[in-house]
Symmetry: D2
Subunit: 301 residues, 4 copies
């Protein structure tokens, strides 16, 4: 039930909006904040989830650990959750198993990329970015597509050709092949400081699938440019994580160096803000309602 509505919500937004904005999260609280601030969907990103586990973004965490994080998010949020599934955690059999598991859990979409397992973060200096063959990745897409039960569940195919240095022609060729194999969207990734190669891809590619981007390095790209190049989804993948890291570092530095918490200048939310986020007062409301029902039943005078 949940599954159906969240997958169709995402599909409808992609059809009806000029651009779908997706906010990155790594746990249920950050996901809830993404929802509260008006984003269309949540990105359960591997980089951020790995960072909050303090392990490298290099296929070190398992599917189970990434799944648990995404599952917590989808239990918490009304908006759809898109799970970053790295290389798919193995071959076609693993992708098949994974798609069933994620779909059953109410996650709206998964994203897999065409790099070699174990992978390394695409933005790492001197990182390893070898691609698997087009055929191997097409096999994963087919396995994923065949495992879907809800046609609205989306498999986003992430093209790493520009990251790996394989070039624009290879990126176009692969995007076309992935669409033919049954992908539901194409994420074209880039580590350039400016969006030119992304726009070039968007203009050259003749496919019909929505194009998705993650403007981490080319952060000056403007929303109206994105729309004018017919890019349908923008993922702000890691800014929440990086804001949390910065503010926690600051507040800890101030605490360790000060004589009193009241000297701290780093902005922190109030206890009440947190109570609201975690719906503490719902418990009090429900206790009241329960009391009323128990009164009606004669257990309380």
């Amino acid at each position: 039930m949940t599954t159906i509505s969240k997958t169709s919500i995402l599909r409808k937004k992609l059809e009806s909006q000029s651009t779908v904005k997706v906010g990155g999260a790594f746990d249920a609280m950050s996901a809830k904040l993404v929802e509260i601030h008006g984003f269309d969907a949540v990105w359960a990103g591997s980089f951020a989830i790995s960072a909050t586990h303090a392990v490298p973004d290099a296929s070190i965490l398992t599917m189970t650990e990434f799944f648990d994080a995404a599952f917590n998010m989808t239990e918490t949020c009304k908006i759809p959750v898109i799970a970053d599934c790295d290389t798919g955690y193995g071959g076609p059999s693993n992708v098949s198993h994974m798609v069933k598991k994620y779909e059953n859990a109410g996650i709206a979409a998964i994203c897999i990329e065409d790099k070699m397992f174990p992978k390394q973060n695409s933005l790492l200096q001197n990182g390893r970015n070898d691609l698997i063959s087009e055929k191997e990745f097409v096999a994963k897409i087919i396995a994923g597509k065949d495992a879907k039960q809800d046609k609205n569940f989306m498999i986003i195919a992430r093209v790493e050709a520009l990251i790996s240095g394989a070039g624009m022609d290879e990126a176009i060729k692969r995007a076309t092949a992935y669409e033919k194999a049954g992908a539901d969207a194409i994420l074209i990734h880039s580590k350039k400081k400016t969006p030119e190669e992304i726009f070039q891809f968007a203009d050259l590619w003749k496919g019909n699938l929505p194009i998705v981007i993650v403007p981490t390095t080319y952060d000056s790209v403007k929303l109206d440019e994105i729309i004018s190049h017919k890019i349908k989804m923008v993922i702000y993948a890691n800014q929440t994580l990086r804001a949390a890291h910065a503010s926690m570092s600051n507040v800890l530095k101030q605490i360790i160096n000060s004589n009193s918490l009241s000297e701290i200048t780093e902005k922190i939310s109030s206890m009440e803000d947190i109570f609201n986020l975690q719906a503490m007062y719902d418990i009090k409301t429900k206790e009241k309602e329960l009391e009323d029902e128990l009164k009606k039943l004669g257990y309380i005078n």
Copy 2:
């Protein structure tokens, strides 16, 4: 091995330092930041862990979920982790099971409080703060003490008498009883805006155990006052969480309202800062070392 050293590290700090400073965390990254900024130990707090799961701090998460968070922290950190274990997740049998599990996992100390299960956050307006009887809580402490295998593993008994309105005499009486039962430290909790009742407790109580405080509401308390009242441990339980909540809220609000990420003014850490925290470059270093070893063995020319 790990267990022994972390429990003895905590004991030695309590003996040798005027005050032990403990920083609150909710996942491995926040715990690592607590360590990096020079705190003596990490507090794996239930309030913060519940908040990051977006559920009320009201005994909703299970021991398993709290344990997993604390276990991730202790796998990541060299400094000791103190796990907030609420009411002990049941009766004496549960505390016994819990102490074995946490000690085996390398956690240095646990803290249990004398409130009724299921509990509600002590700082909640109109929250439920009923105490269990002294006898029942003493039974939990004995069960925990008997389950310890490493004498340095600490059981911190949290006295909620001041929170519940039972008064100072009851607080003193209980702290004394908990020491006699085998507790290793007394956490005296208060929701007053000023530290008077905490100081009064510290001055009146004639026990020999270290006194622990959590100055969330009386945040103007000064470190030198704390030391002069012979309070041995200060837990800054939730400032990291509240800083993360504030900064993520801000950055998300800015992103959703701006045309470009480069317009964002909220401070965010760089990708490199995060790579460093998660030790991404260690992988590159190890790859290099491995290459050297493979060369020596003749596998690479």
Copy 3:
């Protein structure tokens, strides 16, 4: 989607069949065997799950651990899974949280009992079997009912009055109260060697809910008697566990005492039997299908 069908399957069986037969399981394999052998539903029993974790059946495992076992079963089986949820893992707030979690996960029904938390197994010699008040248990049922989103999801209220020695009148009174509060079925439990008190209850009680029994101690009770007393569901809760325990004990004893595995007389299934259960050959079938699709797309000649 899954949720809807499995909850309605269970409801329909209760309406259309003289008796619904439920087989006890503790992991996905035992659940799959329950399905293969023609049972109507799977019982994810706390006693059996605790036993396979080698811990006492005394509220030692957490909801998370019981949930994970039940979730594995429902991911594996087409027939409905009924989760034994002991006392509901806390108060009304916990039951509310639990019902949402289990319903979302595709589990068809949960069962909670009116004993004090932490509980002990009802069949334990000299076990503790104190009841909570009717009011307190009614509060849990209401909280559970209000948390349901799918009306077909079932909350089975387990009456422990006969176990605790509170007597038949109390059992009847409580069953009536639990129906009024919104329970979907009544499990009446007994530790007698014969079914007389169960039949007496079934004959005396004037409620409209299906009656459920667990004939562990009164194992001579006959199916036609059960049907003639209008008992709608029989749970064979722990025979799989006890068969597994017996046969594993035997085979291990034989192995340790013999010179060769071929001397073992304890019956063991073939590797092929296990491969079939775990659908090993599906992987080979899917590999073949994938090859065909890759051929069509021109990747393989």
Copy 4:
């Protein structure tokens, strides 16, 4: 502490006994039965653990799921647990992460094999058994060795050359290379119906590491032959699983076809047998002890 003793127990047994007998398990109960019946160690086997999750033995479960099973076993047992870690769940970085995690958790040894990831069960008809290069597997062994902190923790290198059809020379060559790289034992696997090729390997190989075998297919091999060929460890990997599968199938078939549980002829253990395994009465003993302590403290008259 636990870690040190279990790893050294295993080392000492390998040095002092003619052969070390290891029993296969898939959960804490089966592990406990292995211990009770006098085996030297427990094998946390991937095939059996996959089967109890009802998924193919084909790298479908993640390291987390295998780890959780092995961790439950080592929490339960006094004897050492050896974890079957398939191909190591990735490359050298993953093996490094894994060794730290397993060693910290008190597991005594891990076993990795030189097949391609994702792997398929070695005994599957027409299964895929491609080897990775010697160099790649040597790299995994080095990474594992460098991650060890306790020198007694064992890395067992499983040679699949005979399974894959690469032949005896390749098996010998690889075993030699794996010893040189730092492995602590060599598991030589075979799917032949008779032990000839295993004996041939044992006689030909000139290494100094203990040889380990898994006589699933060549089940007529005799213990005295094994000893005479200087094979130091025998793993009875899956007989517990297969016994449990057979007996549960039988008991379920009998229940579904009979009028009463008392007609069942399949042997099942008593409730008391299970209570003993899960130490139910320890809780009663501890309750008594606690009562005594509370009396001494004056809380009970």
